[in-house]
């Protein structure tokens, strides 16, 4: 009797141990994917999700970077203030002009560049690289270089204008031309990226559609309007959104080239936020303006995903 009892007991114990082992291994398997995502997620939480929430919180407070412990709840006062502030109105208007100017000019130019440069010969490949090259250069260099080119007295651009008999232009020095000059620089830097993406879009259009169109005797313009443009519309939409988002946050060129001037004529959202927060210590105003910017970009992001989803469904 006794020995059987013993073995029974020991086998019971054994079973318990294996059960424990089993549940432990099951547990590690369940937790494993979360553990792998955890580090990345931790960074996102610390430097993305939490700051977004915190920023909204900050926008309801009166505070400054000078003394973070003295925060005062003010409700919507910050938003009211910027809504009534004529400087902020100007900033928003500037941002809108700059954004639409940059995006429209850049997209139109790059569309035609893409149509032109989308060819096999080597020279076109070199041209694509040349057009793209400003995109990977630091905005610091781009800004300083163009500041120098646009120097009203000694700059190369005015020398060229003069050479062809045109009057010198004021470029960054005048309220009437500074914003346009910034748009010009941004177009120069960004058009290459758009061109390359357009070319990728063009190349993904099946060749047989064009062959069918030519059999149907469609003219060049007609083919462009009825085939190329519609087939390119997802690319166009993507580029529009991406360009809008990046234009909304223009800062480096302003900071280096104009400091928002002359007379606030190039003051735009991120620069305004920077000045209010870092220079004028109006933390509340700065965070309220940031929330406005975040809202704008949020809408763009939503549109982007919404469109991407639809595209997937229709395919």
């Amino acid at each position: 009797m006794q020995p059987t009892m013993g073995t029974q007991q020991s086998s019971l114990v054994k079973e318990k141990v294996t059960m424990k082992k089993r549940s432990l291994s099951r547990w590690t398997e369940t937790v494993r994917p979360y553990a792998y995502i955890m580090p990345a997620l931790l960074f996102f939480c610390l430097f993305f999700f939490f700051p977004i929430g915190y920023m909204i919180y900050l926008s309801f407070h009166d505070w400054s970077l000078l003394d973070l412990s003295a925060m005062e709840w003010v409700g919507l006062a910050n938003f009211q203030e910027i809504m009534l502030d004529s400087d902020f109105h100007l900033v928003v208007i500037n941002t809108i002009i700059y954004t639409f100017g940059t995006v429209a000019i850049s997209l139109v130019l790059s569309f035609f560049l893409a149509l032109w440069l989308n060819r096999q010969a080597k020279i076109y490949g070199i041209m694509q690289a040349a057009v793209f090259s400003p995109h990977i250069i630091s905005l610091v260099s781009v800004s300083m270089l163009w500041m120098w080119l646009m120097d009203p007295q000694y700059g190369l651009l005015n020398a060229i204008l003069e050479f062809f008999g045109f009057p010198a232009y004021t470029w960054l020095a005048d309220t009437s031309s500074a914003l346009l000059s910034l748009i010009l620089v941004s177009v120069w830097k960004g058009v290459g990226y758009n061109t390359i993406v357009f070319i990728a879009g063009l190349q993904s259009i099946p060749k047989d559609i064009y062959e069918a169109a030519s059999l149907d005797r469609a003219g060049k313009l007609r083919t462009l309007a009825k085939i190329t443009l519609p087939m390119l519309s997802p690319t166009l939409f993507f580029l529009t959104i991406i360009n809008l988002i990046s234009s909304f946050q223009v800062f480096d060129t302003i900071y280096i080239m104009t400091q928002g001037g002359p007379v606030n004529s190039t003051n735009m959202l991120v620069f305004y936020i920077y000045e209010q927060g870092m220079d004028f210590y109006n933390g509340g105003i700065a965070s309220a303006a940031s929330v406005v910017l975040l809202g704008l970009i949020g809408v763009m992001t939503f549109l982007h995903f919404w469109f991407a989803e639809r595209r997937v469904h229709y395919r």
């Binding site: 294996t18 082992k21 089993r22 291994s25 099951r26």
Partner: protein
């Protein structure tokens, strides 16, 4: 070396019952083949043995160890995949040595073992090549070497030859059976090809719809199928199944055990022929030494395999006859073979043959 035992093994996928409680004993040192049409659960069963799929219910024993919750790497088995699954970023040597290193085998010993194995499978010259630089046959050998070098208790193979061309496949079949003889290890081999199963396995497990239909030696499967499914699955062309004289009964015979002769022809019909059908030849296929006749008899179609001595013409009226010992009777509903308690006379009557 170990025997593998599956006890009422069940696998559910999203509430779908893929493997429905199978019991198999795979004897130590056997070359066991799991065969069946696609979707029959054979691959799932193999993958459960490997530990790549979780077991829903039931037990898997390797040797005297219950392995249900053991990680795949700890089961002491090796697997050869259909598409070889070589590590594309490692050269042949590293591919073979990877498993050894993970087990903590020293570098020096690794080298000895890898070289030994590559000698056996003829890869010595290719050790520094990348998988992308090898032919299909060579990749297959790397996959084999990678499995062999670990000296596992059990080899699992999931349709390892189906990506090779016909000639290479035949050659590899011979090599694999040779390898099995030399190693004496348990092989569990999955295929959908019954010819491959018959030529390679010493135990064949026929599966359909998640259940084991029959597990037996190749000869037994061919001669004594347990049910209609096995009877029709094993053998090529498949067994003819005709409706019997009585309802609820089916009668079957293999194309190669039937005799065929023109109606008005003095054909060498056996005197013991008990079962005859009259019909017309729809078409014929000449295979070389043999010929297949596709015969229409009333509503039913059947196939007869004959040699080329008396070649019959398409459209000719013929009589097909079968010896009574070559007839198989099946229950129409369950498909189960009826073999007990029925004597020859009855069999003949049940079959509805004309005498």
């Amino acid at each position: 070396m170990a025997q593998v035992v599956l006890k009422s093994l069940v696998k559910d996928y999203n509430k779908q019952n893929v493997v429905k409680g199978i019991d198999i004993v795979i004897p130590d040192g056997s070359f066991s083949v799991l065969v069946g049409p696609s979707g029959c659960g054979k691959s799932t069963t193999l993958r459960m043995i490997a530990g790549l799929e979780k077991v829903t219910k039931g037990e898997i024993w390797i040797g005297n160890q219950l392995v249900n919750d053991l990680a795949p790497g700890k089961r002491d088995l090796a697997m050869v995949f259909q598409n070889y699954a070589l590590y594309p970023t490692m050269n042949v040597f590293d591919n073979i040595a990877f498993g050894l290193r993970n087990r903590g085998v020293s570098k020096k010993e690794c080298k000895v073992l890898v070289e030994e194995i590559s000698e056996i499978v003829g890869l010595t010259e290719y050790l520094t090549r990348m998988p992308s630089q090898l032919s299909g046959g060579q990749r297959q050998r790397v996959a084999l070497a990678r499995a062999m070098v670990k000296k596992p208790k059990v080899f699992l193979m999931d349709e390892p030859l189906s990506n090779l061309d016909a000639k290479l496949r035949n050659q590899m079949r011979v090599e694999l059976t040779g390898l099995h003889k030399r190693l004496g290890t348990t092989f569990i081999y999955v295929t959908h090809d019954q010819v491959e199963a018959m030529t390679m396995g010493d135990q064949i497990i026929v599966m359909d719809q998640g259940t084991v239909q029959q597990a037996a030696s190749p000869i037994q499967l061919y001669k004594e199928p347990d049910n209609q499914f096995v009877a029709q699955f094993i053998g090529s062309p498949a067994m003819n199944i005709l409706s019997g004289f009585q309802q609820r009964l089916l009668v079957g015979f293999r194309p190669e055990s039937a005799k065929i002769a023109g109606v008005n022809q003095e054909a060498p019909l056996s005197d013991r022929a008990q079962f005859m059908k009259r019909g017309n030849i729809l078409s014929r296929e000449i295979l070389g030494s043999d010929v297949l006749y596709y015969v229409e008899s009333g509503q039913e179609k059947l196939v007869v395999k004959d040699d080329l001595r008396y070649l019959l013409q398409e459209g000719q009226e013929v009589i097909v006859s079968v010896n009574e010992e070559d007839l198989y009777l099946f229950d129409q509903e369950s498909g189960i073979r009826l073999r007990q308690g029925i004597n020859l006379k009855e069999k003949q009557k049940l079959a509805g043959g004309m005498t």
